[in-house]
Every structure is written in C-alpha cells, then in structure tokens.
C-alpha cells in the first residue's frame, strides 16, 4: 500500500515555496519572422502554507492554469525554483515523488477521464503505477468512490460517458486523492458545473480537505467561489502576481487597483450598489508584448507617467499581505505613494 507522506519541516514551514517561476511559450513568426514569446508566467513568487487553501484569481489568459501545470511539471518551467516542504525539486525530490505529493483536478471533467476505462480502473491507475497490487488498488478505488459520495457498487464498473458532469468531477477528485497527496491543485475544478452541483462539490472538497488534511491551490475566475473556500488569495495579471493576502482583508480592502477593479466587477444583488459602468475597460494587453513598467498601467485609473517606466515589485503592504503597486511603495515617484496606507 501507499504509505502516508511524512511531514518534515513542522507546521510553520511552507509546504510549497515558489520563486521566480517563469514560462515563455515561443510563437513562430514564420521562417524569417522575428522570434517572439508569449510571457505566460513571468517571474511568479509565492508560498503555500500547510493546510491552507490558496485561491488564485485573474482574467482569462493571465497565466493561472499555466502556473498550475508548471507546479505539476506537466510543462517544464523555463526558470524558477519550487521547494516542497524544505526539499528543492529536482535533486532531492524526483518528479515521480513530487507527483505522489501533489495532484491536480482539471476543469473538463469529461476530457480528464479516459473514455475506454471504467471509473474504477481510472482511479486505480495511479496507485498501480506506484506499485500497489491490482486487487489492493481496486479496493482503494472503491473506498475512495464512497468517500466522494458515489456508491462503489453502482459506479465502479461504469464508463465516464454514463455519468453526469458532477459525478465525473467527483471521480476526478477521487482519482487525485488515490495517491494520498498532500496538495491538490484544483484548476477551475467546479467552474463547468451547474450552480447547485457546484455547491455540492465545493462542500465535498471542504470535507475532504478536513478528513485527509489536504492543502488546496484553488484556481478559479469565480470570485464568490474563491471567497467561499480560500484562506488566502493570489491575484494574477499578465503572468505576474499583483497582490497576495488573506481573503477577508482583500475583499474589504483591496490594495492593488486591479484587485479593486476585479472585485467591483462582481455583480451584486443589492440595487443600491449596482454599477452601470464597467470597472475595467477593454482586454488585457498582448502578453507577447506586455507594456513596460507596471503591466496594469494601460488600464489603471491611477496611472501616472512613472508607472510606464518603473516596474513595481511585490512588497508587503500589511502583515502577510503583499502588493505590487507603486502607490504602495514609498518614494516610488507616484503622487499617491505612501498615502494609500493611511487611507485604509
């Protein structure tokens, strides 16, 4: 059987510590064209604490999913280091061992299950790869089916097309848990589900997190859902982290103008708070040729000339809350520099 993964550094050591993670995808500009790259993820730093749920939000194309795939090493990062519980990945921790500790649930519940394998076979595949005998792996698969709320005797021998979207996503969650990981990356895992099913699966995820002592990285574009499940939230814009902090603080007092705009774009049921004007105009700039300086300055209501030339770095604006904005950096040259802290 798969043994439990031991904790090494104690509860205060970050489970994941990511530094300078980078991935540029080449785009061919024809045979004689200039070599160009899409800066999908461009120097991302963050940590994931043991037992927390870290939400990652941002517009489409901001690099959320690429970050997830980089963490799993489904695509190779161009640069950056990932330290797992004090152990750098590569030398001391093989990819195979990392993947035992970190699993992922994908958005498309149908495409992420092999249509030719039964549910039981799909879940048992991972443990079998790691040397669990067939019978034991099946036993584990059936046990996990029960844990995600699907009766094993009814579902074990079914094929993915015979299940509903919600049921399939439960199977995907069971498959991710089959290797007894410590971290589960949920890449838009509930986004494609009906609202009622989404709520059920979210509650299942919360229960499983408690029962198995998991840590989640929860990627979503749905801010309500992120607020519901997350302890901390990371906001991405054009391949960079613009703000990271505790969810409640972020919602009541967003520091970065982009975070503020994102939160303002959430539809509200309160008629007095309805907005008619879009808080953010236009599309994000092309990641092939991102704007110089602060990448958000082209859409930012507080932008000043300095924003187009100086690139802000992620710095603590409050305890446990970091922002990459010149308005929050003292002596940055921005007219509001330093004033934002007092305003809050």
């Amino acid at each position: 059987m798969l043994e439990e993964i031991e904790d090494r550094g104690g509860p205060r050591q970050a489970l994941l510590d990511i530094k300078g993670l980078k991935k540029h995808f080449p785009v061919s500009g024809g045979m004689l064209g200039k070599k160009q790259v899409v800066r999908a993820v461009d120097g991302v730093d963050f940590g994931v604490a043991k037992g927390e749920t870290l939400g990652i939000v941002g517009e489409s194309g901001c690099g959320k999913s690429t970050t997830a795939r980089l963490l799993m090493h489904l695509i190779a990062p161009d640069a950056g280091s990932i330290v797992y519980d004090g152990t750098p990945i590569g030398r001391d921790l093989s990819l195979r061992e990392l993947r035992r500790r970190m699993q992922m649930v994908f958005q498309d519940s149908y495409a992420s299950l092999n249509p030719r394998l039964t549910i039981e076979d799909s879940i048992a595949f991972g443990p079998k790869v790691h040397g669990v005998p067939d019978a034991k792996a099946r036993e584990l698969a059936r046990d996990l089916l029960g844990r995600v709320g699907l009766k094993p005797e009814t579902f074990a021998n079914r094929y993915p097309h015979e299940l509903s979207g919600g049921q399939r996503q439960r199977v995907n969650i069971a498959r991710a848990l089959a290797l007894k990981p410590r971290i589960v990356i949920l890449d838009e895992a509930v986004s494609a589900l009906d609202k009622s099913v989404e709520a059920q699966v979210l509650n299942l995820l919360i229960d499983l997190k408690r029962d198995f002592g998991l840590t989640y990285i929860f990627i979503s574009h749905d801010l309500n859902v992120v607020r519901y499940v997350s302890d901390r939230v990371l906001v991405m814009y054009l391949g960079e982290v613009v703000e990271i902090g505790p969810v409640d603080e972020m919602w009541t007092n967003p520091r970065h103008p982009y975070t503020a705009a994102l939160l303002a774009s959430m539809p509200t049921l309160d008629p007095d708070r309805r907005t008619t004007q879009a808080p953010l105009a236009g599309d994000p700039p092309n990641p092939i040729d991102p704007p110089p300086g602060c990448r958000f300055h082209t859409r930012c209501p507080h932008a000043e000339p300095v924003c187009a030339s100086t690139r802000p770095s992620l710095a603590d604006a409050a305890p446990n809350h970091a922002v990459a904005c010149l308005m929050h950096a003292a002596n940055s040259g921005h007219s509001k520099a330093g004033t934002m802290l007092e305003a809050s």
Binding site: L74, E97, R99, Q103, L113, H130, T154, Y159
Partner: protein
Amino acid sequence: MAIATEPLREIAIVEKRRGYWGTVGRRLVRDPVSMICAGILLLIFLSAIFAPWLGLADPFRGSMITRLRPFGTEGHPLGTDELGRDMLSRLIYGGRLSLLIGILPVFNAFVIGTILGVIAGYNGGWANSAIMRTIDVFYAFPSVLLAIAISGALGAGVLNSIVSLTIVFIPPIARVAESVTTSVRNLDFVDAARASGASALTIMRVHVMGNVLGPIFVYATSLISVSMILAAGLSFLGLGTRPPQPEWGLMLNTLRTAIYVDPWLAALPGVMIFAVSIGFNLLSDGLRSAMDIRN
C-alpha cells in the same frame, strides 16, 4: 416508520465485471452486418486452408478442349479458365496465396506503422520530425513504383513481395496513427496520467493505444484490397507469384483476355477480392463502433 427514499437508480443492476474488451466483443456479436461479414470471411478462410481436403478438381490440370466453359458445366460448377482448369478449384486454392499476400503485408505494416506513429505522435518534437520526415521520403514515391522497385531489388518471389508491400504500407498507416495520437495526447486524461507519475510507455499502453487502435485498424483493413491488387501487379511483372500458381490477382490478369468471350467468368477473381475487402471493411467498421462505447 422509515420510508425508503432512495431513488430508483440506486438499485440499478450491479453489472458483472466484464472489462473493456469483453464489452466490445459482446457489442460486436450483436451487430448483424459484422456477423454476416465475419461469416463470409470465415468461409473463405476455412475453404482456403482446407482446400486439399475438399475433394476439388486439380487446380493445375488443364485441358485444351474444355477451355472457357461457362458456369454450370458438368464437373466444373464455375466453368473453366483460359487453359481449361477448373475455376472453383482455382478460386479456392487461389485464396491461400491471395489472402496471405493481401493480409500479411497490411498486418506487418499495421504493427510497425502504429508503433512508429504512436511514438511520433506522443513524443512530438524532434522524435516526431525524425520519424515522420523519414516516412515522407517513402511517401514521395507512387506506391506501385515503390513496390516494384523494392521487389525488383530483392528479387522475385512471394516472400519478397510481402516485404516490399509491407514497406509500401507503413507510411500511410504511420501517418494515420500519428495524427490520431496527436489529437489524443492533448486530452486532459493523458496529462492526468502523467501527473500520476506514470512512464511514457505505460501511458501509451494504457491510455493512448485503446483510443487510437480503432481508427488505425479501420484504415488498415481498407488497404487489404489494395495490397491484393498491388500483389497482382507484381505477379504480372513476374515479381510475385508465377503461373501456374493460382492467385486471384494473377487470375484476374490472365482472364482479362477472355473478357469478351465470357465476362462473368473473367470477373470471378475480382468478385473474390471484392468480397474479402468489403468483408474486412464492414467488419472493422463494426469493430470501431463497438469500441466506441459511448453509444
């Protein structure tokens, strides 16, 4: 009192564990077209294998006075050919070589082409370029010309024509295999399998093969008839089978001269090639839809 509120689906029949191929087999048996084709093919195969024990006339003994007799002649139910040899006997004996020369090259090419195509499609990058560009070199020649060139270089004979036809069929099968694999490898379940730490070989075996074999197989069976015709062409040039060996392609060629005398007789070997190839085609089509368990 507790009332059973469990919905109906909860007491759905607990199906016996059957496995994927068991399910496919059961679905195939239920398809009448596939079963008819399988029956016809089985008949042709068995009669070819057991030809010497069927009490047929000698396929080599001709008679100049009984040349090109029509159907229903006494002692020759399907008539006689241009040298007076019994057609029924020659058609059944001819199946031995024709089936061998039609199926074996395609089967060999199916195995080799699938392996090459799946490796190229799954790995992408330079492995893909190396394999597919090499294959394109063979693709550049017309298939007949390539078969003649290889056969000519290796020398005449049935074995050599099987080798040359195998080489002719590898490129198209590898191409189909590569394109199907490329579309499967981008699906999330392959990523999920990689994320579970499985090796490339395990992923190809468990997750890719099952999803690509169907379309490749259907395409390969369509090549069986082409293989028989190409083999006939080689025989015509003296590179494959030699007269008086009965072989459908060769018979089609030699009976060509009799087409104005008795067109029905001349068409008989063609009917056999047609029956075998359409049989394989429909059977593989049935197999493909049986493998597509979503329906």
